[in-house]
């Protein structure tokens, strides 16, 4: 459903992504794991057509994202939970998204229920939201069009344990119904709880990918991750 094929990106002489290739199939939650600055957000922005790859290609449904006629109806995106207008209410934020995708207004209420925001919370301006509420609102925004593919950048960042549990149940349910989910995080323990497969990235390069069991190989996943990222740092410096 999602495919990165030899994607490289150079920013002002710095190689942010180096020959990144991986695929995300249907019915599975793929965790995109890497330390801050590893290139996760850059990769997801290239995937969604917001930034350009220097070489290589990223596709959804076998096509460039920007070629999708009404992308919000097929691909749900959360690219930055901080990217909300503080002067708009949560309900208004979702209403604008629903209007743009061409959904009935009733979908806004459904999504609010789905992400657990109450009517009173939805009618408050986003500027007063906690980080957790913003995350829920943004996840709701991504779910508006009942997408087949979900791309979530750091969706569990800032969630409390209950929030992480909620996210796990939600994403599991979506994946079981055939949705393919790609979510990024720099927090190993949080992503370990929600993802079936992991793609590890460091310094713009894919370090390892596979199921959680394959990657840990008898050790703790944390050791594997720290080993891999440490090696990536050494090979650069």
């Amino acid at each position: 459903m999602i495919e990165f094929s030899h994607v490289s990106k150079t920013y002002r002489g710095v190689r942010a992504l180096d020959d990144v290739s991986f695929a995300v199939g249907p019915g599975c939650v793929t965790g995109f794991l890497g330390p801050n600055g590893a290139g996760k957000s850059t990769a997801l922005r290239i995937l969604t057509g917001l930034a350009r790859a220097t070489s290589g290609s990223a596709t959804v449904f076998g096509r460039a994202y920007a070629e999708l006629a009404n992308p919000g109806a097929r691909v749900g995106t959360l690219l930055d939970a901080g990217a909300l207008h503080p002067g708009r209410t949560g309900r208004e934020t979702l209403t604008l998204g629903a209007m743009m995708i061409g959904l009935p207004r009733t979908r806004v209420g459904e999504v609010l229920d789905l992400v657990g925001l109450t009517g009173r919370e939805a009618d408050r301006v986003v500027g007063g939201y906690s980080l957790g509420m913003r995350q829920r609102l943004c996840v709701g925004h991504a779910l508006l069009g009942r997408p087949e593919v979900l791309v979530l950048d750091e969706p569990v960042n800032g969630l409390d344990p209950q929030g992480i549990h909620w996210m796990r149940v939600l994403l599991r349910g979506l994946a079981d119904s055939g949705c393919s989910v790609l979510l990024s995080s720099h927090l190993l323990h949080e992503i370990e709880q929600v993802a079936d497969r992991l793609v590890m990235i460091g310094r713009g390069r894919i370090l390892a990918q596979g199921t959680v069991a394959e990657l840990s190989r008898g050790r703790s996943l944390e050791e594997t991750f720290l080993d891999l990222t440490a090696n990536a740092d050494r090979s650069v410096s």
Partner: protein, 243 residues
């Protein structure tokens, strides 16, 4: 699957212009100022509709372009461009849909000012028992409305080019001072102002008596302050990587 029709983008962008707290406050302030300014000017200056509407135009020339600047820069400032352009990657359509509502708002605001001016003029004329001052015919009304629209377009063009609200508003609001300054730089300065200072060249249009030479000067300054920055701004908005 069909792509997003333009009218839908237009509806969304129109809604965005008015659905934030700051925009609502700005509209209320603008409406209040318009009524207050027209009434006050009417009481002091008598039943002179051109002058009364012109008073409202001073507020329009500052607040409406600021509203337009906020409309075209806001998504970059709040980074909601990430969401908007993820929903419609054909960015030129979004940018076009963003520019139209502020221009239409300038037309609506001009109509509103006229709707306030007419009764105020009549009442003042009746109370003070003086005849209504003529000279605000259809052509003058049209020219005055077009002036309000052009000033908003100038704000939009600056906003599109700079993609930064405070910077754009400051630049827009300092253009009259800039014109004055350049105008004092000798013969070349005067020539530049006569041809390229939009605040100066809209004068004849706002009065509704545009000669051929005036029109040429107006066109030159529209090219400089609206067409060129708007074109560059479109290119920038379409190419810029959203981060």
């Amino acid at each position: 699957m069909t792509s997003i029709p333009f009218h839908r983008l237009l509806r969304v962008e129109t809604r965005k212009l008015f659905d934030t707290r700051s925009a609502k406050i700005m509209i209320l302030v603008l409406a209040g100022l318009t009524v207050a300014a027209i009434v006050a000017r009417g009481v002091v200056a008598g039943p002179r509709p051109r002058m009364l509407a012109g008073t409202a135009g001073v507020g329009f020339g500052t607040l409406l372009p600021a509203l337009g600047i906020l409309a075209v820069t806001g998504e970059w400032g709040h980074r909601t461009a990430l969401t908007t352009f993820a929903l419609e990657p054909r960015r030129h359509r979004v940018l076009a849909a963003k520019c139209l509502p502020p221009l239409l708002t300038a037309v609506a605001a001009s109509l509103f000012a006229l709707l306030v001016t007419v009764p105020v003029t009549m009442i003042v004329a009746r109370v003070e028992d003086v005849p209504v001052d003529g000279g605000f015919g259809p052509l003058a009304v049209l020219g005055w409305t077009a002036t309000n629209v052009l000033l908003v377009a100038m704000g939009l063009a600056i906003g599109m080019l700079l993609l930064n609200a405070p910077l754009s508003i400051v630049l827009y609001l300092s253009t009259p001072a800039l014109g004055t300054f350049v105008g004092r730089l000798g013969g070349t300065g005067e020539l530049l102002v006569r041809w390229f200072d939009l605040n100066t060249t809209v004068g004849p249009l706002a009065k509704g008596d545009l000669s051929g030479a005036d029109a040429a000067r107006l066109a030159a300054s529209i090219t400089f302050w609206i067409v060129a920055p708007m074109t560059a701004g479109f290119a920038r908005g379409i190419r810029r990587e959203v981060t």
